[in-house]
């Protein structure tokens, strides 16, 4: 598959040059996926899909146009490319657009394990059975739980990138996921007219089948997480320390990382612009992007422009030391690409020494945060205001569940107030972070 796509990609680059483009780049992605959802021991839906996509950027005299198509036949792609060429004279000249410096391009000289050779041996029946078994195991734990759905999904993808610098390379990846969400009846302790229920769940995802969490463990977490939400009340309006579960830590760091992206910085849409070399966070914080971790979800050999991937320190002892740059953002900021076209690889917050339990016991009166919602994240100004759910912490112990309130602060204050870092890292996504404590946030409730 990869070889066939490489051939097509280089054909496309050659055709672009023939049309008169002075810079051509193209990416091809093909993905085959399988997904089954079960409910009450029965298949609810079964879906299989194979999709392809091709993206071509053509540039001449600093004028640029792009096309994309899921029809990869040359008889479709060629007229599309011609039509893109015809639109070029209408484009403005953008002196900052260029392909990467060829010296920065290539494949990192390591072996990354992200394609499971055993992918084809798992049969559909086995996958369906796995979801059914997960559901059975979860519902057996607690009779008041009903299943919303249990699912299994997998994906194998092939990516090829080529450009007129002569870059041509590709890779394949596999991904497995299995999970469940359950629902149970609840009663609102305050408020009017509710038919309140609570739902939650858990999932595991990994690039290798054998790295998936055991079904027993997923079932257990799904059950605990749902039951602990029952009887939630609205907390008082106050200012307290907040312990972020690893999932919420991930959400916070995902927003933070976008403020470190070059395109936000040169657009003046980052609270971290003009802050290189400054103390922007608690001096304990070490944050980096690590593309070469074997088996992790964000690992890669090169970025989406073919720039070789390498580790990059972002925050060192609380000081901002680097932004993450694509070639374009680098040109804008007069710096070199750091290999971050297409975003982060694995964003790593260096773990501290505290278990989650120790983080919780460090709080006398505060919040253990398990869920956030809403778009109240402003990376330009740093304002942060989210809907929240969680458990109240009293005298170092988890107490009653809380919901229907908001938490607020600013990124700037949160980064400085992030004063205790946990040790248990969640590896289910490309942001590798333990839980942590932020010692003061505003809660708005009753």
């Amino acid at each position: 598959m990869i070889d066939q796509y490489k051939q097509l990609a280089s054909n496309i680059v050659e055709y672009g040059k023939k049309l008169g483009a002075d810079q051509v780049s193209t990416s091809l992605v093909n993905a085959v996926s399988f997904q089954v959802e079960v409910r009450d021991g029965k298949i609810e839906s079964l879906k299989e899909s194979g999709s392809a996509g091709m993206y071509v950027t053509l540039c001449k005299d600093q004028q640029r146009s792009t096309i994309s198509s899921n029809d990869l036949r040359l008889e479709t792609l060629r007229p599309l490319m011609r039509s893109a060429m015809q639109s070029l004279p209408f484009m403005g000249k953008d002196p900052f657009y260029s392909l990467p410096d060829p010296k920065l391009q290539g494949r990192a000289d390591v072996t990354l394990e992200f394609s499971d050779p055993d992918f084809p041996i798992h049969q559909s029946e086995q996958k369906v059975e796995m979801a059914i078994e997960l559901e059975e195991k979860t519902l057996a734990l607690e009779s008041s739980l009903r299943s919303e759905q249990a699912y299994y999904s997998d994906l194998v993808s092939h990516t090829v990138h080529a450009d007129s610098n002569g870059f041509l390379d590709g890779y394949s990846k596999t991904l497995y996921s299995v999970g469940i969400s359950v629902v149970t009846e609840d009663k609102a302790t305050s408020g009017l007219n509710t038919g309140r229920k609570q739902t939650d769940g858990w999932f595991s995802s990994a690039r290798f089948w054998e790295k998936l969490e055991s079904l027993e463990s997923i079932a257990d977490k799904a059950c605990q997480r749902t039951l602990r939400k029952l009887g939630a009340i609205k907390p008082p309006t106050c200012e307290v320390p907040v312990v972020f579960s690893a999932e919420m830590a991930r959400s916070f760091l995902a927003s933070c990382s976008s403020a470190m992206m070059g395109d936000h910085v040169f657009r003046k849409q980052s609270f971290l612009m003009d802050k290189l070399g400054e103390l922007v966070a608690n001096p304990q914080i070490q944050l980096s992007d690590q593309p070469l971790l074997s088996g992790m979800l964000g690992s890669r050999y090169f970025d989406s422009e073919g720039v070789i991937a390498k580790p990059l320190t972002l925050i060192e002892d609380g000081k901002l030391v680097n932004y993450m740059l694509s070639t374009y953002a680098g040109n804008k900021l007069k710096m070199e690409s750091t290999g971050h076209a297409g975003g982060i690889s694995n964003l790593v917050l260096e773990p501290g020494k505290y278990t989650e339990e120790e983080l919780i016991s460090s709080v006398d009166n505060g919040l253990y945060l398990t869920s956030m919602s809403g778009q109240g994240v402003n990376v330009t100004t740093g304002d942060y205001s989210r809907g929240a759910q969680g458990l109240w912490i009293r005298e170092g112990k988890l107490a009653e569940p809380v919901s229907e309130f908001t938490i607020a602060s600013t990124f700037q204050q949160m980064l400085h107030n992030l004063d205790l870092i946990g040790c248990e890292v969640d590896t289910r996504n490309p942001i590798l972070t333990p839980p942590f404590r932020i010692n003061k946030m505003s809660i708005s409730g009753t």
Binding site: K18, L19, G20, R39, I43, S45, L46, K47, E48, S49, G50, S51, A52, R64, S65, T66, I67, S68, N70, D71, R78, P79, R82, S83, F90, M91, K93, V183, D186, L192, N193, T194, G195, R196, K197, K229, A232, R267, K268, Q269, S373, G374, Q375, G376, N378, T380, T381, Y384, S385, R386, Q389, S403, E404, F405, A408, T410, S442, S444, G445, T446
Partner: protein, 498 residues
């Protein structure tokens, strides 16, 4: 240069969209360009039911999308995108088998059909005698003869430049302006084993301006957009570029002078149009029937009960002409209806797709939607709105001693099971002694759906639909939607500021 000219001379039809009625356009594309005949469709449906499925449908789609982006006063990029495919769905009871193919050759469609068929495993399969297709011709809620796609690139650029200029001219503190124009023509054909056969051509236009304003260290952003299932006459009728350029700039400048929002419980006034997002989150999602079929919504099993203030009558409909949420037929081929959800506070109905309608033994409501051929349909909103009330908006303002007034929003989200929802205002003001006073920023509103709807204490007589800018996400599928609402007072809601 000779070779280059020769290359440009070669003309192929793939970039020429056909013209005519929706049915003619779909036929020209599918039959004329891709060779998909009625006989193929019969055979693919047969393959889909070859394992004993009860029902099968095919969803053909060809989407042609162009976009132009201007940033830093430079037309940075233009792009063209083509996406086509067919989704094959097989139902066995309420079980779904789904597969799709981007290759519309007969062999590839047959393969997809056999994959989807495997949801059913009956030993006995009924012999199909062939299908009688009943060609539906729904009324057209967006009869667009000339789409924005037909507008020459140079003319699009003129409009984009006008929007950019309007934003910069508004105030020298506007430092960066980004303008985008995206238009799509989505041609679909739905063919079902029970004989439904319908084609639809769905235009969608969206123009957006985003501004960054800066005053010393204070940086704020503003944005504004327009759009809908509209064509060139929409762009020609009014000076939209100028209006949205000014509006986006005004928002960013206003926020430069905004104060931090207060915290705690207080009365909240929702201004007309955009605040319809309240309905979308608080009522709309929890009334999508799949959640109710599974018993996971806060409104499950509550038809006939009082779930909102008697002032609230709420509809969902795909029949609002040219609206972003309009649909001539849903993605299962059912026609849209005026769907009464809540009448004077009493829950009357849910929004259904084929599966949930069968479960409740009702007619589908025209709410079976999907993002594309790559997805199976589920119950989704189209345009959700709260009917007009009787109170003068001025009186609503006067009724509030201390509270906030919300004008525009960046979005919202809801937890279906417990009913908690948030929505995030971008432009909002403090209300003091019945008057709008200072602009505020950095706030999130949080409430519980049934609880907040029960606290609707006044409904204005100034109903309006929102500009066509909203996209709704559910289970990883995005679809365009519309909302509408008059001014509404919620007597108490939690405002989360700092």
């Amino acid at each position: 240069m000779d070779q280059e000219e020769a290359l440009f001379e070669e003309q192929e039809t793939v970039l020429q969209l056909p013209t005519g009625t929706p049915d003619q356009m779909a036929k020209a594309l599918l039959e004329g360009q891709m060779g998909v005949t009625d006989s193929h469709m019969h055979q693919v449906l047969q393959a889909a039911l070859s394992r004993g499925g009860d029902y099968a449908d095919l969803y053909f789609e060809y989407a042609y999308r162009t976009s132009v982006v201007m940033e830093e006063s430079i037309i940075k990029n233009s792009s063209i995108s083509i996406s086509k495919g067919v989704g094959v769905r097989v139902l066995k009871g309420d079980q779904t088998g789904y597969a799709y193919s981007e290759d519309l050759s007969f062999e590839a469609m047959q393969r997809a059909a056999r994959t989807a068929a495997s949801i059913a495993t009956s030993a006995t399969v009924k012999e199909h005698e062939g299908y009688q297709f009943n060609r539906l011709k729904p009324s057209n809620h967006y009869p667009v003869m000339r789409t924005v796609t037909d507008l020459p690139l140079a003319d699009k650029i003129t409009k984009i430049q006008a929007a950019e200029r309007a934003a910069h001219d508004f105030d020298p503190r506007i430092k960066r302006v980004t303008v985008s124009m995206v238009d799509t023509v989505d041609i679909v054909r739905i063919v079902t084993s029970d004989g439904r056969f319908v084609s639809d051509v769905r235009p969608m236009f969206r123009m957006n301006v985003h501004c960054v304003a800066q005053e010393e260290k204070n940086v704020q952003t503003g944005s504004a957009g327009v759009g809908g299932r509209v064509g060139l006459p929409f762009l020609e009728a009014e000076d939209h570029p100028n209006q949205i350029g000014k509006k986006a700039a005004a928002e960013a400048i206003l926020l430069l002078g905004a104060e931090q929002a207060p915290s705690g419980s207080m009365p909240v006034i929702l201004g007309p149009a955009q605040s319809g997002i309240l309905l979308h989150e608080a009522v709309g999602h929890p009334l999508e029937a799949d959640f109710n079929r599974k018993g996971s919504s806060a409104y499950s099993g509550r038809i006939g009960e009082q779930v909102a203030s008697p002032l609230c009558t709420i509809y969902d409909t795909g029949t609002i002409d040219y609206d972003r949420g309009a649909l001539n037929c849903d993605d299962e081929g059912f026609l849209p209806s005026q769907n009464l959800l809540i009448e004077n506070g009493i829950l009357r109905g849910y929004m259904h797709d084929r599966i949930s309608a069968a479960h409740y033994d009702l007619e589908p409501t025209g709410n079976g939607r999907r993002e594309s051929y790559a997805h199976y349909p589920m119950p989704r909103m189209t345009t959700t709105y709260l009917a007009n009330g009787e109170t003068d908006p001025e009186e609503i303002l006067e009724a509030v001693d201390q509270g906030i007034y919300c004008v525009s929003f960046s979005g919202g989200q809801v937890d279906i099971s417990n009913g908690d929802f948030v929505f995030v205002p971008t432009v909002a003001y403090l209300v003091e002694k019945g008057k709008i006073t200072k602009p505020i920023k950095n706030l999130t509103l949080i409430g519980n759906g049934p609880d907040a709807m029960s606290r609707v204490s006044l409904v204005g007589n100034d109903f309006a639909f929102s500009e066509g800018i909203w996209t709704c996400g559910k289970d990883g599928q995005s679809v365009p939607v519309g909302v509408g609402l008059p001014t509404v007072l919620i007597s108490e809601m939690t405002v989360g500021g700092m």
